[in-house]
């Protein structure tokens, strides 16, 4: 039975090695904040962090993961939606339907970790998630806001 380190807890996952991490998170760990959109790593709705890097969990079999690799989902990004990215998203009213937004937020948090002051080109390259409602311009503005620490200053 594979062991996974999810949001700081090591859990036994009762699933086949080939099961995508997305479905182990949603169905075994009960963490449904990570969404299914395409199943082929195209849309990014399933983005989580593995050791800090953004990963599309729908295409990552759990058998390829070790218990010492730290998986963080949207539920584990912060205890109370207080991550700078989440605060910027709230300040700018970014989500519409919201279904893609967990993946967007995880991708943005990872981007800011590697590039604390991203340019628009960095955002173009780092944010390849699909949003059908069309929140892209607010996503871009919120990433810049989070990078500037604007939310913290406002607070």
């Amino acid at each position: 039975m594979p062991k996974l380190n999810i949001n700081g807890r090591v859990v036994d996952v009762d699933a086949d090695d080939k099961t995508p991490l997305l479905w182990a998170l949603r169905e075994q760990a009960g963490l449904t904040g990570t969404k299914y959109g395409c199943g082929i790593a195209q849309c990014g709705a399933c983005t989580v962090h593995i050791d800090g890097a953004p990963v599309r969990s729908c295409a990552m079999p759990i058998g390829a993961l070790r218990a010492d690799q730290k998986i963080v989902t949207i539920e584990g990004l912060s205890p109370d939606a207080s991550h700078p990215v989440q605060k910027a998203w709230l300040a700018l009213d970014v989500p519409q339907c919201g279904y893609c937004q967990a993946g967007m937020i995880m991708a943005a948090a990872a981007l800011l970790k590697s590039k604390p002051r991203p340019t628009d080109a960095d955002i173009d390259a780092g944010m390849t998630n699909i949003c059908r409602c069309g929140t892209y311009n607010r996503v871009r503005a919120a990433i810049h806001l989070a990078a500037d620490g604007g939310v913290a200053r406002q607070g």
């Binding site: 075994q28 009960g30 969404k35 082929i40 519409q96 919201g98 279904y99 699909i130």
Partner: protein, 725 residues
């Protein structure tokens, strides 16, 4: 309505509220049980407003929230009239079953056609105003003073003479027992303090933390999961399937036929169900349409362009005669493909069937329609069914008119009585079994008189009728009025030009691919046909596109006002940055006036970049300008994704594109700046979620012509070589 029904309704609301607060696991509630809970219920002042003792207010929302902001806008309208403290407002959905039991007290649940606010604003405002009057009366009764001396503001009631104060929460129970007044006056929108303001959405916080429960996230005790495969060829059905091959796979509980055309695997969890379904041998009888292709459909539509018989949508003067005698004629043929809604959350529904009851949890744009399908598929009366509406991971029209996935879920649950089953479509199933944007072509012929004035226009549309596929009972003498959206003589989709001889007609040609209402509906292609062809006519006349339009828009001042506003802000007529070219378009849809100017460049290699969009919209009244701006921006993503990439092709009777690798859409790197002008002129209520989509593509296509000299008449752009000739 009897007291028992009311009490039942209230208990169900309590369950609903507890669910919202309690996270993902949704407790099964037992109808007609839980008497002890009733005493804890906060008072329902009236159907729209519940006030708790701590002064927090719950506003009931009948329409569905799918990202478009209607939930917040409707709450603003109720709160405005209620005079409550906006910071204490939350919302909840009544169920369609409760609506049925209470004589449709919440009216229509349908959330499509950009009607969520514009069709219900009056009665929801009256709901808020009535609740305020009941609360005032209760306070006046307690104080023994005339109600006329009392006023409400920010959830506080004040008696003018004595300065005494109380709060909504303290008098709500008493207010709930009063008889509502027959007549209530509504505020002048000019005095609005909550409505009309860009307040923040009420539904954001849970969308940031993964707590928001979508239909796909539901978990019920003892629930199983289903994956389904419908015959990939529309109209086909399974001849046989070999269940024994997969029944021993991990977690698999059952392999079921679903209706005439589908097979489902039910398993402990969804990944197991999908894995087994992929391994299940199914022998399909592909039916009568297995040889249909995009090429055969195109020939069917091309024939319609020339057909003698057609259904008339708009007629002024005698266009045929005027064209026959025109000094100069311009002619062009355009086409628009099938497209999938591709909501980010695939179709899903969870159903629990027992011998005497059926309940469904699903994201739906029309809870009442979902309830009707639940009743029909379960064989139970609607009064013994209910639908629990979940937030939608996108709707765009897919989740409104046809609840095919709800029918499937109920048909599965009927075969497993007492066990809740969640049906979730794979993305591939969602792509292959959409209700597609209808396919059409159009031949446009314009005629100038000897003085060079546009004297005649004939728009012949050939292709698919949505109503014929979705609601044939609504055809009018065989004619589909929805086909003519944006080209009509008057009304919500009134054409913005005065042309002495005009004919708009439709040769209905219905291929076997099922059509549906797709965000923007027939405005999308009609605006491309009209607005790109008007540009062609302007070019033929040697005139600037804006100047040419002005001359034929004199009797359409509101259409012209948004066009002028967008053109002015974009700097139309002034030099654009080097290498950047502009195009414009205007259109009226869903009761609102919209216009856009696009700025694009096209590289020597034919690569398109859309730099900037300036968009203007006049929706009459603006309930939340911040959300209108969000909808306008989003409309460009939806409309330009369609323009750049959106195409479902048909081969061997089935759709070829099965996932986002072959059905791409716009991403952030292609997103232009969008500058939005919200210019409500008052006096009418127009929609917001869809109208702007219509101008997205034609503004860009007209800018591409300015940049390259190429007229793109067939979408999507991914198929077009934009290198200069």
């Amino acid at each position: 309505m009897d007291a028992d029904t009311l009490e039942l309704s209230r208990r169900r609301f309590l369950v609903g509220s507890a669910t919202a607060a309690g996270g993902l696991m949704i407790g099964l509630h037992l109808p007609f049980a839980g008497e002890a809970l009733a005493a804890e219920l906060p008072p329902e002042v009236n159907a729209w407003v519940v006030v708790k003792p701590d002064d927090s207010v719950i506003v009931r929302i009948a329409r569905s929230e799918m990202g478009q902001g209607t939930l917040t806008g409707l709450a603003q309208l109720v709160a405005e009239e209620l005079e409550c403290d906006w910071s204490k407002v939350s919302t909840e959905y009544p169920t369609p079953g409760q609506n049925l039991a209470r004589g449709r007290v919440w009216g229509n649940f349908s959330t499509g056609g950009s009607r969520g606010i514009r069709e219900s604003h009056e009665y929801v405002r009256k709901g808020g105003a009535t609740a305020r009057m009941l609360l005032l009366q209760a306070a006046a009764d307690a104080w023994g003073v005339p109600v006329a001396e009392c006023s409400a503001a920010n959830s506080v009631i004040t008696h003018a003479g004595t300065g005494r104060k109380t709060t909504f929460g303290k008098v709500a129970s008493a207010a709930a027992r009063l008889t509502p007044p027959a007549n209530v006056a509504l505020k002048d929108p000019k005095t609005w303090k909550i409505a009309g303001k860009a307040v923040k959405r009420l539904d954001t916080i849970d969308k940031l933390s993964g707590k928001q429960v979508y239909g796909a996230d539901i978990r019920l005790p003892g629930m199983l999961n289903a994956a389904i495969r419908d015959c990939p060829v529309f109209g086909g059905k399974p001849r046989s399937f070999d269940a024994a091959k997969v029944l021993s796979m991990p977690g698999v509980k059952a392999v079921l036929r679903v209706g005439d055309s589908a097979v489902a695997v039910v398993a402990q969890n969804w990944w197991q169900a999908k894995t087994a379904l992929d391994a299940l041998p199914i022998d399909w009888d592909e039916g009568a349409h297995a040889q249909v292709s995009s090429a055969t459909i195109a020939r069917q539509l091309e024939e319609g362009l020339e057909a003698q018989q057609a259904l008339v949508g708009n007629q002024v003067g005698d266009a045929r005669a005027a064209l026959a005698s025109a000094s100069k004629r311009v002619e062009a043929v355009y086409s628009y493909p099938y497209q999938n809604h591709a909501t980010m959350e695939p179709m899903n529904a969870t159903a629990l069937y027992t011998a005497d009851r059926c309940e469904v949890w699903t994201p739906t744009q029309n809870g009442e329609a979902a309830l009707a399908v639940t009743a029909d598929a379960s064989g139970l009366p609607a009064a013994r069914c209910d639908v629990h509406k979940m937030h939608l991971g996108g709707g765009f029209g897919r989740r409104g008119a046809v609840h095919d996935w709800v029918r499937q879920a109920v048909l599965i649950a009927r075969q497993m009585p007492g066990t809740p089953v969640k049906l979730l479509w794979s993305r591939e199933e969602d792509m292959l079994h959409g209700r597609y944007h209808p396919i059409t072509q159009a031949r446009l012929v314009g005629g100038f008189d000897a003085a060079g004035n546009l004297n005649a226009l004939h728009i012949r549309i050939s292709g698919q009728s949505i109503l014929a596929g979705v609601a044939p009972q609504n055809l009018q003498g065989g004619r589909d009025p929805v086909t003519f959206q944006g080209l009509s003589a008057s009304g919500d989709g009134e054409i913005g030009y005065t042309i002495p001889h005009l004919l708009v007609d439709h040769a209905m040609r219905n291929p076997h691919v099922p059509p549906g209402f797709w965000r923007g509906v027939n405005h999308n292609q009609n605006a491309i046909y009209l607005e790109c062809f008007i540009d062609e006519l302007a070019d033929a006349a040697g005139q600037d596109p804006l100047a040419f339009r002005r001359k034929i828009m004199g009797r359409h001042p509101k259409h012209l006002a948004v066009l002028e506003a967008a053109a002015d802000k974009a700097g139309w007529g002034k030099p654009a940055p080097a290498g950047v070219f502009r195009g414009l378009a205007q259109h009226k849809g869903f009761g609102s006036y919209t216009a856009a100017v696009a700025e694009v460049s096209v590289s020597a290699q034919g690569k398109l970049k859309i730099h900037r969009i300036v968009a203007a919209t006049d929706p009459g009244h603006a309930v939340n300008p911040g959300q209108i701006a969000a909808q306008v921006e989003g409309s460009f993503v939806y409309g330009l994704s369609a323009c750049l990439y959106g195409e479902c092709t048909v081969a061997k009777g089935r759709i070829e594109q099965q996932n986002f690798d072959t059905y791409p859409m716009m991403r952030i790197d292609e997103m232009p700046e969008v500058e939005t002008i919200v210019m409500p002129s008052g006096g009418f209520w127009g929609g917001v979620g869809e109208p702007t989509i219509a101008v997205a593509a034609p503004a860009v296509l007209n800018a591409i012509f300015a940049a390259t000299g190429k007229r793109v008449r067939s979408l999507p752009l991914k198929n077009v070589d934009l290198r200069r000739a």
